[in-house]
């Protein structure tokens, strides 16, 4: 483990992050909202730390980066990004404590969307723009973005890419990792611009449209309104956001194929098919279940579809208070938090692909009881899935559930009630946002104890980097020479 390399790359990431703070800074100057000074201060601190690391640990950048170092760079890079992104909130007095700022910042970059802001509309617009913007950066991944635009990260890029995008079945769109990263970001940015345009047509202001697009596409869920999307109470806006949440929850390499002129790419991919069918079935069940609450099938469908898509894609917007719904619907939504979106999308959770492989594995085991000599091969998209991949999926699901269990016990030990600790941890580890109980869709995370917030920060990072990259930091063997 060569610390020099790791800190050098973290330095590059910080310099880059500091530069992006120019965006809220300029916006702040334009609208005179008194946040220009704290943002400039944060940018300077970030930039100076970055430059210090960069020049302090500079080396000839053509060395091999080991997988282990790649993991360390990604993990520390994300923690550093969380720290520096919190500075504008802290200096801008959006929160009283650094804990809250840090929580909000990590919730942003991990695209969770859990907020500790009690009055969102009271915060200056430039800080809210920053809050949405870091979510957008975190959505496709800061490493992937850096790979795409910084030639410096060229060597060892593959190691870092794998640590940040640990899809069970990796698909490299182009032979070179840099081109792959570039394509992903272009597609991502393109769809974001499309959403901004659609939201503008629906009558949103350009500022709101940008903020919401910045938080829809990474399946983040930060809104600039206290009531989230319910604020607009518009079927058109909800429909647009629902469609773009679904797009964000689909594997981005499928979007790329689609743009290359394969219109059936979505339907041909079995994971995507599973994802879409799952959304449809859950929406229909909940529509029927909540029909008595709204007394209109149209309304019930409208609210059910939005909430289901929002939870399953791990976005976390709200257009209705699902805590008023029957227990069955709430329970289904809670379980949906675990499934998550497709692999290779910006969504979190366990990922449909893993769930599918898991079900296929279970089915295979059952079949082998009936036909002991059967030789079966688990396949996805008619491609055989190797047993290594299957066991890594099983390991992942085991760790996911295990860490969820431990964390919710820890949160409950801090005096939080059962429903809240259960759903808050599920929501954090799945990068969703709202939970149930005191962290429900109309409330927020401000009331949790400080220790609890740090625990959830940990869960959010675990979830965003898909467990292994973060949990491995706790293994002593990882740090041994």
């Amino acid at each position: 483990m060569r610390w020099r390399y790791i800190l050098f790359f973290v330095g590059i990431l910080s310099i880059f992050l500091g530069l992006t703070m120019i965006i809220p800074f300029i916006y702040s100057i334009i609208c005179h909202d008194n946040s220009a000074r704290p943002i400039l201060l944060s940018a300077s601190i970030t930039e100076i730390s970055g430059l210090l690391l960069f020049f302090g640990f500079r080396f000839k950048n053509n060395d091999y980066i080991s997988p282990r170092e790649g993991i360390a760079i990604v993990a520390l890079g994300w923690i550093a990004t969380g720290f520096f992104s919190a500075l504008p909130f802290y200096f801008g007095n959006a929160f009283n404590t650094f804990t809250d700022s840090f929580f909000e910042s990590v919730s942003g970059i991990t695209t969770t969307g859990a907020s500790v802001m009690t009055n969102i509309e009271g915060v200056t617009p430039s800080l809210l723009l920053w809050r949405s913007f870091i979510q957008w950066l975190g959505g496709m991944g800061i490493i992937v973005l850096s790979l795409a635009i910084l030639p410096l990260l060229g060597v060892g890029g593959m190691q870092m890419y794998k640590a940040e995008v640990p899809s069970p079945i990796p698909d490299k769109l182009k032979p070179r990792i840099r081109d792959t990263a570039m394509i992903l970001w272009k597609v991502y940015a393109g769809i974001t611009i499309a959403e901004i345009l659609f939201l503008l047509i629906g009558g949103m202001s350009i500022y709101d449209a940008m903020n919401h697009a910045f938080t829809t596409m990474p399946t983040g869920g930060f809104s600039t309104k206290n009531l989230s999307v319910a604020h607009y109470d518009s079927v058109y806006i909800e429909t647009v956001i629902t469609i773009f949440m679904i797009l964000a929850g689909i594997n981005f390499s499928l979007h790329y194929q689609m743009l290359l002129g394969k219109p059936l790419a979505f339907w041909k991919d079995s994971e995507c098919r599973f994802f879409l069918c799952f959304l449809l079935i859950v929406t229909l069940i909940i529509t029927i279940n909540i029909f008595p609450v709204y007394d209109s099938i149209g309304k019930a469908f409208r609210y059910a579809s939005f909430q289901v898509v929002s939870i399953v894609t791990t976005t976390g917007y709200g257009s209705a208070d699902y805590e008023l719904w029957p227990g069955m619907s709430q329970m289904i939504l809670l379980l949906c938090m675990f499934i998550g979106a497709s692999a290779g999308s910006t969504g979190g959770g366990m990922k449909c692909l893993r769930v599918m492989i898991y079900f296929k594995y279970c089915y295979k085991e059952l079949i082998s009881l009936i036909h002991p000599r059967a030789v079966r091969q688990i396949k996805v998209n008619s491609q055989p899935v190797s047993s290594d991949v299957v066991s890594s999926v099983l390991g992942f699901l085991g760790l996911f559930v295990g860490l969820f269990a431990i964390s919710s016990v820890l949160l409950a030990s801090m005096g939080v009630d059962i429903v809240t600790s259960f759903s808050a941890v599920a929501s954090a580890i799945g990068n969703i946002g709202p939970g149930l109980g005191t962290v429900g869709p109309t409330e927020n995370y401000a009331g949790l104890p400080a220790m609890g917030k740090w625990l959830l920060v940990w869960c959010m990072l675990l979830g965003r980097l898909e467990i292994y990259t973060i949990i491995i930091l706790l293994i002593p063997e990882f740090w041994r020479k």
């Binding site: 036909h371 002991p372 000599r373 059967a374 030789v375 079966r376 091969q377 396949k379 008619s382 055989p384």
Partner: protein
């Protein structure tokens, strides 16, 4: 008429003997002296030792004035290279090639259009699968063949005690149901082939060859009490090339299929490529495995391993344990007579299928296809009626067909039908003639224009 055959294996040997029987000039090339000795001792052909891929050997065999080249060695590569040189030395020679590797299938057109300009590519595995599929259409039949592009079916059935045909005189046939749509073409009684006449009576245990219009197949078979219940569950034994191809085909037809294969690595590959077919690792002769997989509920057991003794054993075992019907792959032609005696329902032989296909293709010109039945004692020929033929415009009963030949079908435009004595033959008709080997030359003469090998 001169034919050069490269490869004196089972396929080469049998084609050589078939063609030589019809007084054609045949040269056989092989590197194996023993194989050559077998050929030259039993058939009247010229045998040359050497590799067919060598231009000098080809010249020695007289490829320049050969009409047809058949490359049927075990090696695809040698077959292709032989054709390549034959194409350089003698471009006008017609080239027929056996290719087994399925990788080549996608390039068949290219091989035909560009050098080596192969005329016909025969894949014995594909032919075997087609044969099995025909058997599966009529599980109760002993033999099933396609005529006139599948518009007419040739079906061999064994007469059992309850058969309505039993004790019937052929002249009484027209009074039966569906009578216009089928015809009895041949009877095999005690290994002897008879082309029946009006007074012949059908007896138990006769193997009767029936020609039937395809659209009336179901009614006719029902009437004759032949089992045509569709096959729904199949057990395949052996996952080699033919087994895999068969499994793919069954999967496409949504027939519930299980495949037993001994080799775990092959099992793994099969499992990767097949989606719905259940792959079982084990031995086709293992009783406990067959019980475990409900062999008694199988409509058909198809044994396709490379080892014919194992195939015979597992077919018999499966039948004994209650499987409805079986198809067994047997390569050695010498085993064929034995097969029926021991209770095997159908046999399939990729080599025999290849021989039949090759014969069909080399009988180009007026003869469009040829199906041979019952250890090659008879052939069904499909021929165009040439304009200058003396049979044109005549009623069938007025044409003096030789004894041992029977017109069993007429294809007019896109329709095929079973003729009666009063049917007229018209210009541009295609007639289907069932004939014993001895009378084929007479039929050639009758149709005026000689049956040509192209």
């Amino acid at each position: 008429m001169k034919v050069v055959i490269i490869g004196a294996g089972e396929v080469g040997f049998h084609i050589a003997s078939r063609i030589a029987y019809e007084q054609k000039e045949v040269v056989v090339i092989d590197t194996d002296e023993n194989a050559l000795r077998r050929v030259s001792e039993s058939i009247d052909v010229q045998a040359i030792k050497g590799s067919g891929s060598s231009p000098s050997v080809l010249k020695q065999a007289g490829i320049e004035n050969a009409d047809i080249l058949l490359a049927v060695t075990d090696s695809d590569q040698i077959n292709i290279v032989s054709c390549l040189f034959a194409d350089y030395i003698s471009p006008k020679t017609l080239k027929l090639v056996r290719l087994r590797d399925s990788d080549f299938i996608a390039y068949n057109d290219a091989l035909q259009t560009f050098s080596p300009h192969i005329h016909t590519i025969i894949n014995p595995d594909v032919e075997a699968v087609k044969t099995i599929e025909r058997f599966m259409k009529v599980p109760g039949a002993v033999d099933v063949g396609d005529l006139a592009d599948g518009k007419i079916q040739l079906i061999g059935i064994r007469l059992e005690k309850e058969s309505p045909l039993l004790g019937l005189k052929l002249m009484d046939m027209p009074r039966m149901q569906n009578a216009g749509h089928f015809l009895i073409a041949a009877v095999i009684r005690k290994e002897m082939l008879i082309i029946p006449r009006g007074n012949d009576v059908l007896a138990e245990d006769d193997l009767v060859y029936i020609v039937c219009e395809s659209q009336h197949l179901t009614q006719t078979m029902n009437m004759l009490k032949v089992d045509i219940t569709p096959v729904k569950r199949v057990m395949l034994v052996g996952g080699g090339r033919v087994g895999f191809r068969m499994a793919m085909s069954l999967e496409k037809q949504s027939i519930k299929t299980k495949i037993i294969e001994k080799n775990p690595e092959i099992c793994q590959k099969l499992a990767e490529k097949l989606d719905k077919v259940m792959v079982l690792q084990g031995d086709g002769t293992d009783q406990s495995l067959l019980i475990e997989e409900n062999i008694q509920d199988m409509d058909m057991v198809i044994t396709l391993t490379g080892d014919e003794e194992i195939n015979i054993l597992s077919s018999l075992l499966a039948k004994r344990m209650g499987a409805r019907s079986n198809i067994t792959r047997i390569s050695k032609f010498s085993y064929f007579p034995l097969v029926e005696a021991i209770g095997i329902d159908h046999i399939v032989s990729p080599r025999l299928s290849a021989v039949n296909t090759i014969l069909q293709h080399i009988r180009e010109g007026n003869v469009l296809s040829a199906v041979s039945i019952k250890s090659e004692q008879a052939e069904v020929l499909e021929a165009n009626v040439p304009e200058n033929s003396k049979v044109c415009g005549k009623m069938l009963q007025k044409i003096g067909f030789p004894k041992g030949a029977l017109v069993v079908g007429i294809v007019r435009k896109n329709n095929a039908f079973i003729p009666t004595g009063s049917s007229l033959i018209q210009i541009n008709d295609r007639i289907i003639v069932f004939a014993t080997r001895e009378v084929i030359p007479k039929i050639e003469k009758l149709l005026t224009v000689q049956l040509k090998y192209h």
